[in-house]
């Protein structure tokens, strides 16, 4: 950030919407995918336990 303020940092020279819109969607997608895989595992294990 080379000596600028946080406000300047988040503004990204006027491109904040584009830059943070990219980074945030990537992070949200990854979190959602992890959540999906973990919850799927819970469902499968619950089903398998019910069978035994």
């Amino acid at each position: 950030m080379n000596g600028q303020s946080w406000a300047q940092f988040f503004a990204m020279g006027g491109y904040g919407l584009y830059v943070w819109g990219s980074v945030l969607v990537v992070l949200i997608s990854v979190a959602a995918e992890l959540l999906d895989v973990v919850s799927r595992r819970r469902v499968i294990l619950k089903f398998l336990k019910g069978q035994a």
Binding site: Y15, Y18, V26, V37, R41, I44, K49
Partner: protein, 265 residues
């Protein structure tokens, strides 16, 4: 015939015998489980350092201003979208030719992650295109072939989901995945073969990098981190698929996470 000589014959029939044991879902399931934390931890570390370098160390671009910083997520996502496809087609093909069901399960486990990264490459590309080209989307060769990649992933998953018999689905998926591989070099070389609005490759093996070294470092760290994440999440999904498909078998029923603990009377 005693067991040892039978083993010797088998070792002759199958080279890389030691590797074959991991083709068994039963053997690979715990191995995958042990690998996942290392993959996810290194992914987190690499992406954090990569984004730090990208956003706090790398300078502002003199042409594109700070808009170029989308590169730190766009290029890693785009690379992975192509790489995962090739790896998915490889495992699907291997599962078809060698009849190893774990390979086909690996292909299934990779598809959603590949589709996600293709979507992210298109999404971040749109957000980069708007300020630099003035358009969210153009029908140029790079963007169009990448959209086709997304449809290939979706087609692969839909085909698997629509086929009740898992092994038949694996084979059908393998045919689709292998035919679709031709699209990957088209995506990669599209910026050279056609006159596209999309800029040329960020990294070339022939020429010195045209980008600043801290920009390059941030991008490579994020790419490695995304890579580690993709391996980790695909292994997690592979374990789910193994449990779903082999749920009836004794070894799954005997797993500590499945077996119901008997309460002491």
């Amino acid at each position: 015939m005693d067991t040892s000589s039978r083993d010797r014959i088998r070792a002759h029939a199958r080279p890389f015998q030691w590797l074959w044991q991991y083709a068994s879902p039963q053997r690979f399931y715990p191995v995958a489980g042990r690998l996942v934390p290392y993959c996810l931890a290194s992914a987190l570390l690499l992406v954090l350092v990569g984004l730090y370098v990208g956003f706090f160390v790398a300078p502002t671009d003199h042409q594109q201003g700070d808009a170029y910083r989308i590169i730190f997520v766009h290029v890693p996502a785009a690379w992975l979208s192509m790489l995962i496809y090739v790896v998915m087609a490889f495992w699907a093909g291997l599962g078809w030719v060698l009849n190893t069901r774990l390979s086909s399960m690996m292909a299934r486990a990779l598809a959603p992650t590949g589709a996600l990264f293709t979507f992210l490459a298109l999404w971040t590309g749109g957000l980069w295109g708007k300020p630099t080209w003035g358009a969210w989307w153009v029908w140029d060769a790079r963007l169009t072939s990448d959209l086709i990649l997304l449809f290939l992933y979706i087609g692969f998953m839909a085909l698997q989901a629509a086929t009740d018999d898992p092994r038949r689905g694996d084979k059908a998926g393998a045919v689709l995945a292998l035919v679709g591989v031709v699209n990957v070099p088209i995506i990669y070389f599209s910026v050279q073969w056609w006159n596209t609005l999309h800029q040329g490759a960020s990294i070339s093996f022939k020429a010195a990098p045209t980008m600043g070294s801290t920009m390059l470092l941030g991008m490579l760290l994020c790419a490695l981190g995304f890579w580690a994440y993709a391996i980790g999440v695909a292994l997690m999904r592979l374990r789910n698929i193994v449990l779903e498909r082999e749920g009836e078998s004794d070894w799954v029923q005997g797993l500590p996470e499945v077996a119901v603990k008997k309460e002491p009377v």
